[in-house]
Subunit: 296 residues, 2 copies
């Protein structure tokens, strides 16, 4: 199976390398030359232009957002390099309605589509242990199995229809985005009370206040290390998708709204490229709290 | 060691029964006669008035809030039934400043104090497996050890000073309260999209959006079962303590504020005595979403 991974960022790179490791013939494309070099150094086959691809059976799309996904799928020379009936596995987080729209357009071009947003972070992606929230026809899912086996630990098969995978990702991002902001709020309050932040992490991780995101992100704040694993701007985008979807359905989301306001404020303050836990800096500034690693 | 547990609600009853099971001579007091009967049926020694207690070495306080704690400690006939130097272990969730105030007053009366809020829920309390966030002098902690061994799985020793235990509980309740509200928000959005709510729980529990509270409370919403394990009104109180403490320290808490508004709205709508996950009913009503178990 000739496979092409488009977008070699933290998740796409991990997926591409996991495919190579599983013995799948894998090409990789990215607009960033450094990403291509890194992929080549890991045994992959970098391509510098989508015009260069040929006889591709399966495309994994790992670009940043819906408009990039539409651009590579519909406004590039990719199509001429695809086999008839090729499988497009779209791993981008996007609105469920957008997943349906893209799936229909892909179908009308004679290709197949799996709606397959992922979760798990860069480290798990590199290990081939991401989680995939997938929806698509049973036959497409069967054909995707070798790829899914290579890149994931859990594949949740959520139905036949495009959009079902994206709906689940939406719910996950709502929770993840709110939990990171809650972690920031809790750590900022603890810092204001002069509590030992590492002790806070040790205790809360064993209590009912814990979350996956608390255990993962609170140490960044306690260590004052905002090297981006996943950036503030990702949640500006993803909670934007969540709240738009909610508004379109007449659904209120007061916590997502409050969290999104924090991510936006952080992004507007120049923190968009920092680790998402850097939303704590917005709270600290508004509260005149000094955090670990801060100069003020 | 003659021990008295004051307040035989879900946590206090579990602690009292766990002491009995550990062979500690344990009396129990509650204003509710049914709680006293239940305690007697479990092998405990119920007392119908604090005036009846005698030669008590150790008091565990499990009443609902700070004013009830002050009432039983300072405005009752309890004092005359305590041994000199008796140990008061206060497990009530209250503001850290209030813990200091009560500790000082207890000290001036010739008794010792441990600030010891707990976490874990009714089921763990019954099993003697709660978590305790404790602060107090090393000697008091040593004397409390047989009691702590009987009722808890984790004892976090957070320092010598009263208030340090309550600070940690504050951070835990901030996170727990926000996470329950986030769970409600996520489940309400999922219901609006006609998603299979049990499938949502299965998937999210294995993804980065999970939290202790999501795993514990989301099933209540999927099952439409709001029998109170911990009630809405508990979080009206506890997030009230969190946001007051924050305001007093000039700290902003936008997520706690949003969550508290939901708990208050639920309480004002007559849901105060239901399970805390019933905040989802406020969101569902505002969003015209039909939840499992609802008639509308």
């Amino acid at each position: 199976m000739q496979t092409l991974v488009i977008g070699l960022g933290s998740m796409g790179f991990g997926a591409a390398v996991s495919c190579v490791r599983a013995g799948i013939d894998t090409a990789g494309f990215d607009v960033n030359p450094e990403a291509l070099e890194r992929f080549q150094a890991s045994g992959g086959k970098p391509i510098e232009s989508l015009a260069a691809c040929k006889d591709i059976d399966c495309v994994l799309v790992f670009v940043v957002n819906a408009s990039q996904a539409e651009s590579v799928l519909f406004d590039s020379e990719l199509q001429s390099g695809l086999m008839p009936n090729a499988l497009i596995i779209n791993c981008v987080t996007l609105a469920p309605s957008k997943a349906v729209e893209i799936a229909n357009k892909v179908g009308s071009m004679g290709f197949r589509y799996i709606d397959a947003p992922v979760s798990g972070g860069a480290a798990k992606a590199l290990d081939g242990r991401m989680s995939i929230m997938a929806s698509g026809t049973p036959l497409a899912m069967t054909d995707a199995k070798p790829i899914f086996d290579a890149i994931s630990e859990h594949v949740f098969e959520l139905g036949d229809e495009p959009g079902q995978g994206s709906q689940m990702k939406l719910i996950n991002q709502l929770l993840a985005g709110v939990h990171i902001a809650a972690t920031a709020e809790a750590m900022n309050l603890a810092a204001s009370l002069d509590m030992d932040l590492h002790q806070v992490i040790d205790v809360i991780s064993k209590c009912a206040g814990s979350s996956w995101m608390f255990e993962n992100r609170a140490p960044h704040i306690a260590d004052g290390d905002y090297s981006p694993l996943s950036s503030v701007n990702i949640f500006v985008k993803d909670l934007g998708i969540v709240t738009n979807e909610a508004v379109e359905n007449g659904v209120v989301t007061p916590l997502s709204d409050a969290a999104l306001a924090l991510y936006r404020k952080a992004s507007e303050s120049g923190l968009g490229g920092e680790d998402d836990s850097a939303v704590v800096k917005v709270l600290a500034q508004q509260s005149k709290v000094t955090l670990p690693g801060s100069d003020t």
